[in-house]
Amino acid sequence: MFSYCTDPSTLSGLTWLSCYLTTGKHMAFYLSFGTVLLLLAITAPTALLFGYFGATAARSQIAPLRWIGKTCIAIVRGVPDIAFFLFFVIALDQAIEWTRHKLLCPEWTEPVRQGNDFVVCAAAKMPLGTAPQWVHETYGFFLAIFTFAIVFGAFAANVLFGAMRAVPRAQMETAEAYGMTRKQAFRRIMVPQMWVYALPGLGNLWMVLIKATPLLFLLGVEDIVYWAREMGGSKTAKFTDYPHGDWRMWYFLALLVFYLAFTRVSEIFLERTMKRLTKGQATTGGEAQRKVAA
């Protein structure tokens, strides 16, 4: 990076550190913070959306829809994350390729499953075998987001389901008395009020999600924990210009600071949201706010 970095073995102290911290490898490490933040930024709203649909399905009046919603929530919540990540992603990837295989290569006669192997024609590969590496990485990244969204969506669905039931029955009765239909009452009365009951649960989920990102490496996405472990490991002079001992402690310390700072910021944000949501609600919190104002 800097001009004086050509021969690191002659450097010492801060100059050495400045060179060390700007190697291509460290750049990849810094970039992976972006990967994690991007993942969170996309996953959180998607999971919330999945959760919303899950919860609405679970309390639907149409029995089959209700069964599907409840079963999905129960299965995803029950399966360990790591098993889900290993099984579901590979299965999803194979399902996509299998479908493309059937559509694109009808003339193919060999079986798709050959022993342990999963073989589809070249045109059905997802992404194509000829695609550059970044396409593969992006594809893997979105598979990861989808999987995260399903897992956390199921938990969010349960939280929202509970929150919907927590909205006082009297509120809904009043809506009915005003002549609103079931749908109108749901949209106008229940949904705006349920968030205040859902927020503590959703906040918990968000905190868990922040810390769940190391699961990414199972899917081949290199996240901050992977890089910290890789770079903190002791390096012998033969294979690097910057040999050092076991520095994992320092790298993980940096991660600790990052995670603590991140969760603290989240907490502050959640607290403020809670205050805003409580305003004018028929809860003890809302009552307290009203008294302070009056």
């Binding site: 190697t23 022993g115 999963f118 290199e222 012998t236 076991d246």
Partner: protein, 238 residues
């Protein structure tokens, strides 16, 4: 209709061509110097990087490097996330049941023990090894207690902090570590394990296997493989 047939034919042709210019994805671990590791620039480097690039050149393939955790390196190969495992993987019968191996590109190499002192008794005690390696299954078959770790780095750390008495791994991996750290020593006792290191390919991928077999053979014949083995201190030459 004619046009439809024509486009189909063109499509089939282009699909065939696309197959010809296919990118071969090389899966490695990137945490096992000198075999494979991530260099300062953040790229895969090491003996297998040089070897793989040369083999691809000889077999006239375009290759791309991917890293994957050792634990799931075989499942990801068979499900098609990459096409080749080139990660210091020894050829064993157990693995051969699931995937196919090319011919070996290193000699069956002794595995060595690395410990804090030279008088450690390896027939008993606690020994560290990386999960899913031939060394781990060897320790499990002896009287010693096995502690497994996901990465090679952690096995060394376990010896340093006293969690394990010694670590069993390829000598090529342990030797540079012992050279640099005066606290750690290689024991004299070694174990002959496995049938050399080969590239892993899917069992249904006979064509690719044949290409790499031929390329490895040509590197063995003109001595360039021996040069690489000496350059990276991997072990015995052919």
């Amino acid at each position: 209709m004619k046009k439809l047939i024509l486009t189909t034919a063109a499509f089939a042709l282009s699909a065939g061509m696309a197959f010809g210019a296919d990118v071969v994805r090389m899966g490695t671990e990137g945490a096992y110097p000198p075999w494979n590791f991530i260099n300062d620039a953040g790229e895969v480097d090491g003996f297998e990087r040089e070897l793989g690039d040369e083999l691809c050149k000889r077999a006239e393939l375009t290759c791309e490097w991917v890293t994957n955790e050792w634990d799931s390196i075989i499942p990801n190969l068979v499900s098609g996330n990459y096409d080749v495992i080139i990660a210091g993987m020894s050829i064993t019968d157990e693995r051969d049941e699931v995937i196919d191996f090319t011919q070996n590109y290193t000699q069956p190499d002794p595995s060595a023990y690395l410990a804090m002192s030279s008088d450690v008794d390896v027939s008993g005690g606690v020994l560290a090894a990386q999960t899913g390696t031939i060394q781990a299954s060897h320790i499990a078959s002896t009287g010693a207690t096995l502690v497994e770790f996901a990465t090679p780095e952690e096995t060394i750390a376990a010896v340093r902090n006293g969690e394990a008495d010694a670590v069993l791994a390829d000598k090529g991996y342990l030797a540079p570590i012992a050279d640099e750290d005066s606290e750690l020593v290689l024991l004299e006792k070694t174990e002959m394990l496995g049938g050399g290191v080969g590239m892993g390919v899917r069992e249904s991928d006979g064509e690719l296997k044949a290409k790499f077999d031929a390329a490895i053979q040509s590197m063995k014949d003109d001595g360039s493989l021996n040069e690489l083995i000496t350059k990276w201190d991997i072990g015995e030459t052919f």
